[in-house]
């Protein structure tokens, strides 16, 4: 078997918190704490978790927006964690990112044509006439009217702006696109258009995605495999359908149980989880989920469980009591 396109090993990202007149480091945010993930070429890995779990930080470490505290990010076999600007520029052709708010990631003073032409300028691809044709083809590919090439980002709706963000990301035929909450700012009817577009582009171009989102139903819809994060750690990782049919980690079970379904005949009567997510400034000892876990035992408070294979080789879970909490019947 060939090596995965992207392999993350023991990735750790700690942010210092500074305080006092001397701006000394007074605390540390443990945003990501030693995680391991891989994405195969042409496949989608979904990364799901609630706010503050570290999923966005993982994405930013991969594309080089953050220099990780420790660990390796291997892209196509090479470690790119903390790569310099020159090396990053080369990698960027193969490794791109789509952001949640396309408005904030698009220069408001540039036309769509300028925004989409920029990748070709930076990498000195084609003549200027050739670039115009490429921009036009890109716009068509993402379902935009090429006649809008001279308009500015603010003239477009949120869904159209996200199409521009996607077009820019795929301009240079990348191999991996990190998608950070690409549809969470969009209305449902627009969200489904964008999800379909991402699926279509994956098929046509053989793209791999790391799809980061808080909405498990959306993540499951686009992913081959899903990793569930909580407070900087991976709790469970499995093929998408397996994760939903047979969740083994109590947090995954609770997450599935908390999603309101568009079906009044399947109401979720009692929430499984009480309390709030603890602060990543001071993560709990042992398993990070233990203060909210309905089946935690003494061991969970003392010993952090390792992520290990369960039930076949491709289902990983980090829990001392894996598989013991089941989804409640809905009524």
């Amino acid at each position: 078997m060939s090596a995965p396109l992207l392999q993350i090993e023991d990735l750790t990202m700690h942010f210092p918190v500074r305080g006092g007149v001397l701006r000394r480091q007074v605390a540390t945010v443990h945003a990501v704490d030693g995680i391991r993930l891989s994405v195969e070429a042409g496949q989608t890995l979904g990364l799901v978790g609630e706010s503050g779990c570290g999923k966005t930080t993982v994405g930013r470490c991969i594309v080089g927006l953050y220099k990780p505290t420790a660990g390796r990010v291997r892209f196509d076999g090479r470690n790119i964690a903390g790569a310099g600007a020159g090396e990053l520029k080369k990698i960027r052709r193969d490794l791109q990112m789509i952001f949640q708010d396309p408005f904030e990631s698009l220069n408001p003073r540039h036309t769509v044509g300028e925004i989409l032409g920029e990748p070709f300028d930076i990498h000195r691809i084609g003549t200027s006439a050739d670039r115009a044709a490429r921009v036009q083809a890109l716009m068509e590919r993402v379902g935009m009217d090429p006649g809008a090439v001279d308009r500015f980002p603010h003239e477009f709706s949120g869904g159209q702006r996200q199409r521009i963000g996607i077009a820019r990301a795929i301009a240079l035929n990348p191999r991996l696109v990190v998608c950070d909450e690409p549809v969470s700012a969009l209305d449902v009817s627009i969200q489904s258009q964008i999800l379909n577009l991402l699926l279509k582009l994956q098929q046509e171009m053989g793209l791999a995605y790391l799809f980061i989102a808080h909405d498990l139903a959306v993540v499951k819809h686009v992913s081959d495999r899903i990793a569930v994060m909580y407070l900087g750690k991976i709790m469970e990782q499995a093929p998408a359908e397996t994760l939903y049919r047979n969740p083994l980690h109590p947090y995954t079970v609770a997450l599935i149980a908390a999603i309101p379904e568009a079906d009044p005949f399947r109401r979720k009567v009692h929430p499984l989880l009480g309390g709030d997510v603890p602060s990543p400034l001071n993560p709990p000892p042992g398993c990070r989920f233990h203060p909210r876990c309905p089946i935690a035992i003494q061991r969970c408070r003392e010993e952090a469980p390792m992520l290990k294979a369960a039930a076949g080789g491709d289902h990983l879970v980090a829990c001392h009591r894996a598989g013991e909490l089941r989804l409640p019947d809905t009524g």
């Binding site: 009817s189 489904s192 139903a217 908390a258 379904e261 079906d263 009044p264 005949f265 109401r267």
Partner: protein
Amino acid sequence: MNNTILRVERLSVSFATEKGRLTAVEDVSFSLRRGETLGLVGESGCGKSVTALSIMRLLPRPAGRIEAGRIMLENTDLLRLPAADLPGLRGRRIAMIFQEPMTALNPVHRLGQQVAEAVHLHRPELDDKAVGQEVVAMLKQVRIPEPTSRVKAYPHQISGGMRQRVMIAMALAARPDILIADEPTTALDVTIQAQILSLMRDLQAETGTAIIFITHDLGVIAELCHRVAVMYAGRIVESAAVETLFRSPRHPYTQGLLAAIPRLDRTPKAPLATIEGTVPALDTMPPGCRFANRCPRVMERCHLAPPPLVEVGEGHAVACYLYS
């Protein structure tokens, strides 16, 4: 029917913009019964929040203006209420909670003080000690852990979910007839949302307060509401009991919306149903049905005049020429 506590009748609201006065809500009618939860669902800009603000008489003025209609709270038309009577309406008879409680709480006052203010306002007969006890009881009622110590905390010291609980406690302080909840769980994580929805359901069972729950999330509607009105581009396109709406939606927009939601029990990576196109801008609203440009079943007459909301079954109304 004396079971009805609030009736919105043919409400139209306009806003002054750079492009002139534009209608944000048009010809909206619905009723709310005692003790029920009515969902108002729709995508951004559909007019659901403007409708709620009209009921509270909180439209920004002079930009926002009621063009037509009545809002009857029992036998009083709220739109004709003199300004002097508004404090007796807001909070006392109708209370409201918002998406971001941080903007509604005063950041420099302790929580206990703010809740006490709400209690004092509505029950001036209580002395300080009794108010203090009431505050703790109320925080306990919304399931805030360690309420006696939390009264000393400032808003930024507690989580978003906890802040929303405090808002709910304050909103219910005066035992209002109606609670309007405008996207109260949208900013919260899904496991916290589940806690808040469960809390609201339990409190309603205890107090009998009628709730208007505004959201863009059909899942939340299915979870919590008894009846639902679907809004699109300023108009109600369909209303029904939740079971009816989710089992047999009739309006092409409702059908499209339900089909477009990614669901956990669907096959991964299969294409989702979509509603093509986008909502028309307020200044380019068509004279006919506002959904016509995106509707898969559009007919010639849809472009001429807006379809009226007509009854197609018991308590089930649809504004679509396919049914009238």
